[in-house]
C-alpha cells in the first residue's frame, strides 16, 4: 500500500512488556495522524511463554496485519528463534545484546541493532524498565514521533505517580541514547506526523462494546470466555452510565436466558461468547426464534472444536451459527471485517434483532478481538437506532397476529390490555398452543418469511474491483481485509481480480452472489477453517462453483498467500 507502510513486530516473553510497548507505539502513531492496524498473540500458557505484538502503520488506510514485518524487536532468545526464518534481507533487527542471554546469527542483508536492554534494566535495578529501553531505541531508530510518544507515556503513567513516571521516562531516555550511538543502515522510518485525524483507537472487542452502547443496549449478561471477555469489560465500565445493566451469569445458557427475559421485558439485550458458549446456546436460540424474541449473541470465534485452541484465530463457527438449533429455527447471522465493523455492525445487529424479532448472531474472530485499529470517531447523528414494532393500543392484542410482513407488534409487560403469552411451544396467533398441521406450516412461513427483506434492509454486499475479473474472491470476516490488499496489489500487477465481501451471512443475499459471479471467471473462497464453511453455503444456496481455499493453523491469512493462490488458479 502507501509508501511509508511499515510493520514493526515486538516479541518476547509474556510479562516482559511486549504488549504495552506495542500499545504505546500504536497510540503514538495514531496521535501523529497515522493509520494503525495491530495484531497480538498471547501465550497459550497461563504465565510466561511467547508473546508477540505487531504494529502496522501507514498514512494510507491499512486493512490487515501485513505479510511480514520490516522491523523486528526481540526481547529474548525465543523471540529470535521463532522469527529467524523471517529475517530476510532488508529487515531491521533490534535485539537485546549483549547480556540478553542469546547471540543471534545475523543473515546477510539484515540490519542489526544490538541494544543492551536487560543490562540497562539491571543497571536501573528494575526488570520492568526493559521494554522502555527498547521503546526509546525504537523511537530513535525508526522516527516514531517523540512528541506523541511522550504524551502517551505521560498519560499512561501519570496516574501512577511522578516517581514511576520519571523512572519510565528515564529508561526511555537511556534507550534513545543507546540507539543514538548506532549507525542507521536500513531505510525504515515511520512517516512524519500528519494532520491528526478524528479517530479513536480500540480493539475489536472494545469496538463491539462501544457499538453496543451506541446501539442503545440496556442489558448485557455473559459468562467469561476467551477471546470474548473483553467485550464485557468495556460494557461493564460504561453501561451503568446510560442506566443499563450488566451481570455475569453462572453459565452461557443462563446468560442467553437472561437476555431473552430482559428482551421480553422490553430492553435491547445481548450476550457475547465464543464457540463453546455458542454450542451451549442452541436450545435457547431456538426458543428465541419460536417465541419471536429479539436477542443478540456475539460470537468471537476461536480454534475449535471442544476447548480447541482458546487463544487462536479461526473462522469456524459459521455452520453452528446458521444451523445450531434443532428444528427449523430461523435467525440472522452477520460477520464483521474489522474494528470499524465491530462498532457499526453491533449497532445494526441490535437493530435487526429488534426489527425482525429474531435471534441475531454476530461473528467476530480471535484475530480481530485483540487487534487495535484506528477508526473514524463515530458521529452520533449518523447512528441509526431502530426499535421493535410496539402495539398501538388499538383493537384486541394478539402477540403472534398474522400480518403481511410477518412482524407482529410486541407489547411491553406493564402495558394495560396487552397481556399475552410468549412461548416456545408451537402456537396460534394468541400464543395458545396449537398443533394443527396447517398452523405449524403457517407459523413457519411467518417466521422465515419475515426475514426475506433482511437483505434489503442492510447495505448491499460490497464489490471491490473491475468490471470483469478472471478470479472473483469471496471472503468473510477478518479475511476480507487481507483480500482487499491482495486485490489491490494484484490489480496493480495487471491481474484481473475482484472481491465480494458479504457481511450478511444468513439469510444469504443470493441475488448479489449471482450477479457478482456473472462478472467473474473462477470464484475463490479463502477462509480460516477446515471444512470451507462459507464455500458450503455458496454451493448449497447459489449456482456458484467456488474453489475453497482453507487454512486453519490458528493464524490469519496474509495478502501474499491470497495473491499466490490467485496466481496459481488463474
Amino acid at each position: 500500500m502507501g509508501k511509508v507502510d511499515l510493520v514493526i513486530k515486538i516479541a518476547g516473553e509474556g510479562g516482559e512488556g511486549v504488549i504495552s510497548t506495542g500499545d504505546f507505539i500504536a497510540a503514538a502513531c495514531a496521535r501523529a495522524g497515522q493509520e494503525v492496524y495491530t495484531i497480538k498473540t498471547f501465550p497459550a500458557e497461563i504465565k510466561g511463554g511467547y508473546a508477540m505484538y505487531q504494529v502496522r502503520t501507514s498514512l494510507d488506510p491499512v486493512f490487515n496485519q501485513g505479510d511480514t514485518f520490516d522491523i523486528l524487536c526481540a526481547f529474548n532468545g525465543e523471540a529470535y528463534e521463532v522469527n529467524r526464518q523471517l529475517l530476510r534481507p532488508g529487515v531491521a533487527f533490534v535485539y537485546d545484546y549483549p547480556d540478553g542471554g542469546f547471540e543471534p546469527e545475523i543473515p546477510a542483508g539484515v540490519h542489526a541493532y544490538p541494544i543492551p536492554m536487560s543490562r540497562t534494566a539491571k543497571e536501573m535495578k528494575s526488570y520492568r524498565s526493559k521494554n522502555m529501553v527498547a521503546l526509546g531505541a525504537l523511537s530513535v531508530l525508526f522516527n516514531i514521533n517523540e512528541k506523541t510518544l511522550l504524551e502517551v507515556l505521560v498519560d499512561k503513567f501519570k496516574s501512577k505517580g511522578t516517581e514511576k513516571l520519571n523512572f519510565n521516562l528515564d529508561a526511555f531516555q537511556k534507550g534513545k541514547e543507546l540507539a543514538g550511538g548506532l549507525v542507521k543502515t536500513d531505510p525504515w522510518r515511520v512517516a512524519d506526523p500528519a494532520k491528526p485525524k478524528d479517530v479513536i483507537i480500540v480493539s475489536g472487542n472494545e469496538g463491539v462494546g462501544l457499538g453496543a452502547i451506541l446501539g442503545g443496549l440496556k442489558f448485557y449478561s455473559a459468562y467469561p470466555i476467551t477471546p470474548a471477555t473483553e467485550i464485557a469489560k468495556f460494557v461493564a465500565l460504561h453501561l451503568p452510565k446510560v442506566r443499563g445493566i450488566l451481570i455475569q451469569a453462572e453459565d452461557e445458557i443462563a446468560s442467553l436466558s437472561q437476555v431473552l427475559g430482559a428482551s421480553y421485558a422490553g430492553a435491547r439485550a445481548m450476550t457475547a461468547t465464543s464457540g463453546p458458549g455458542l454450542s451451549l446456546m442452541g436450545e435457547m436460540l431456538g426458543m428465541a426464534s419460536m417465541s419471536e424474541t429479539p436477542v443478540l449473541v456475539v460470537d468471537v470465534q476461536r480454534g475449535g472444536p471442544g476447548t480447541g485452541m482458546p487463544t487462536k484465530h479461526e473462522q469456524s463457527d459459521l455452520f453452528l451459527a446458521v444451523f445450531g438449533s434443532h428444528g427449523d429455527a430461523p435467525r440472522i447471522v452477520l460477520a464483521v471485517e474489522d474494528v470499524k465493523d465491530c462498532i457499526h455492525m453491533t449497532v445494526e445487529a441490535l437493530n435487526l434483532a429488534e426489527l425482525y424479532q429474531t435471534p441475531v448472531i454476530l461473528l467476530s474472530d480471535g484475530s480481530l478481538a485483540f487487534s487495535t485499529q484506528t477508526v473514524p470517531a463515530p458521529k452520533l447523528d449518523t447512528i441509526r437506532i431502530v426499535n421493535r414494532k410496539r402495539w398501538d393500543g388499538q383493537g384486541v392484542y394478539q402477540r403472534y397476529q398474522m400480518v403481511a410482513d410477518g412482524i407482529s407488534p410486541m407489547a411491553d409487560p406493564g402495558t394495560p390490555g396487552a397481556m399475552h403469552m410468549a412461548t416456545g411451544l408451537e402456537h396460534g396467533p394468541t400464543g395458545a398452543p396449537n398443533y394443527v398441521p396447517g398452523n405449524h406450516e403457517a407459523m413457519h412461513r411467518k417466521r422465515f418469511g419475515k426475514l426475506q427483506s433482511v437483505a434489503d434492509f442492510v447495505k448491499p454486499t460490497e464489490v471491490d474491483g473491475e468490471e470483469w475479473a478472471d478470479v472473483g474472491i469471496i471472503a468473510w470476516g477478518s479475511t476480507i481485509g487481507v483480500v482487499r490488499e491482495a486485490v489491490t496489489r494484484l490489480q496493480a500487477d495487471g491481474v484481473k481480480v475482484k472481491g465480494f465481501y458479504p457481511k450478511l451471512m444468513w439469510p444469504m443475499p443470493v441475488a448479489q452472489y449471482e450477479s457478482f459471479a456473472k462478472t467473474c471467471g473462477k470464484i475463490l473462497v479463502p477462509e480460516v477453517n477446515f471444512q470451507g464453511q462459507l464455500s458450503h453455503f455458496i454451493r448449497s444456496e447459489t449456482s456458484l462453483n467456488p474453489i475453497p481455499y482453507t487454512i486453519c493453523g490458528g493464524v490469519p491469512f496474509t495478502p501474499i498467500q491470497i495473491m499466490n493462490k490467485v496466481r496459481e488458479i488463474i
Binding site: 452520533l380 409487560p413 406493564g414
Partner: protein, 292 residues
C-alpha cells in the same frame, strides 16, 4: 415485586383466571396450588398487567397459561434465569416463577443457587410432586427410592434432595412450604412471598395421582406438620433444623425463614447511581475516552 391496585376496585381470585382451559388430570394437586396462586394474587392486589408469570416445561409449568398476566412459557429448567433478566429490566412489576421439581432441581438445578445468592426479587413457587408428570412418570430429584418408575423398574438408586435445605443454604431470603391440599395455606404463604422484597421460595407438595403411586394425598397428610408458633423466622440455624426434619419423616409447613438484604436490582441501581448514570448520558464522552 410491586403491589398495585387497578383504581379502587380490588380484583377477585377469578379475575386472575385466563381463558385457556386447565388441562391437568382429575385429582392433580396442581389445581390446589393454582387456586392458592389466584387467591394470593387477589389478596396482594396485583394488577394483572403488572405481573409477569414465567415458567419452564412440565405439567406445573403450564400454570402461566391459566393466569391472566404477562407470561412466558420458556424452556425446561430455564424459567428462573429468564425471569432474572425480565425482573432486572422491570423491577417495578411483580415476577412470579412457577415450575416442577424436575424443572427446578434437575435440569434447572444449576440456576437455583444463583437466584437465591443474588437475591433476585421474585417469587418462585415449586410444584413438588416427586415425579416427572409431563413425560409420564420418571423419578425426579425429590422422588423417594420406594417409588418404582418408568425408567427404574428395579427401584430408584438415589437419595431424594431436600428443597428447603437447599434454598436455605443458597441464601434465599424467604423460604416456606405448603401442601396443595390446603389452598388457603398456599395462598397465605404465596401472598407473603409476593410481598417480600427479595428471592422468595415456596415449596408446595402436590400429589400426582396419575404417576406417583407413593406420594399420595394420605402420605402428604401424614408428613406435614405446622411450623412451631415460637419459631424465629430470622434464625437461619433454626430454619435449617426444621428443614432437616424431612429426613425424619416430618415436613414443616409454613414460613421457615424471612430476612431482608439488598436485592440484585437494588445493587444494580446502586451501581448506576454511583457512576451518575442517566438515560440521556452524553455518549460522546464514551467515544472520546477511546481517542489515541
Amino acid at each position: 415485586m410491586s403491589i398495585s391496585m387497578i383504581g379502587q376496585v380490588a380484583l377477585k381470585p377469578k379475575d386472575y383466571k385466563s381463558e385457556v382451559p386447565v388441562v391437568w388430570c382429575p385429582g392433580c394437586g396442581h389445581y390446589g396450588i393454582l387456586n392458592g396462586i389466584y387467591r394470593a394474587l387477589s389478596e396482594a392486589g396485583i394488577d394483572p398487567s403488572r405481573l409477569m408469570s414465567i415458567s419452564g416445561i412440565g405439567c406445573s409449568s403450564r400454570a402461566p397459561y391459566f393466569i391472566n398476566s404477562y407470561k412466558m412459557h420458556t424452556l425446561h429448567g430455564r424459567a428462573g434465569a429468564v425471569a432474572t433478566g425480565a425482573q432486572l429490566i422491570r423491577p417495578d412489576l411483580t415476577t412470579l416463577v412457577m415450575g416442577g421439581d424436575g424443572d427446578g432441581f434437575s435440569i434447572g438445578g444449576g440456576h437455583m443457587p444463583h437466584l437465591a445468592r443474588k437475591n433476585v426479587d421474585l417469587t418462585y413457587v415449586l410444584f413438588d410432586n416427586g415425579i416427572y408428570g409431563l413425560t409420564k412418570g420418571q423419578y425426579s430429584p425429590t422422588s423417594r427410592p420406594e417409588m418404582t418408575a418408568y425408567t427404574t423398574p428395579y427401584g430408584g438408586p438415589e437419595a431424594p434432595m431436600n428443597p428447603l435445605l437447599y434454598m436455605l443454604t443458597y441464601g434465599a431470603t424467604y423460604v416456606a412450604q405448603a401442601f396443595a391440599g390446603k389452598p388457603g395455606v398456599c395462598a397465605e404463604l404465596i401472598k407473603g412471598a409476593l410481598e417480600h422484597r427479595g428471592f422468595a421460595y415456596v415449596n408446595i407438595y402436590s400429589q400426582c395421582p396419575t404417576f406417583n403411586t407413593v406420594d399420595t394425598v394420605e402420605f402428604y397428610r401424614d408428613l406435614v406438620e405446622t411450623v412451631p408458633q415460637d419459631h424465629d423466622v430470622t434464625d437461619l440455624g433454626a430454619a435449617i433444623s426444621l428443614a432437616r426434619r424431612t429426613s425424619e419423616g416430618c415436613a414443616p409447613m409454613g414460613l421457615l425463614y424471612k430476612v431482608e438484604r439488598p436485592t440484585l436490582d437494588m445493587q444494580m441501581t446502586a451501581i448506576m447511581d454511583g457512576v451518575g448514570g442517566r438515560e440521556d448520558y452524553d455518549l460522546n464522552q464514551i467515544i472520546d475516552a477511546n481517542r489515541p
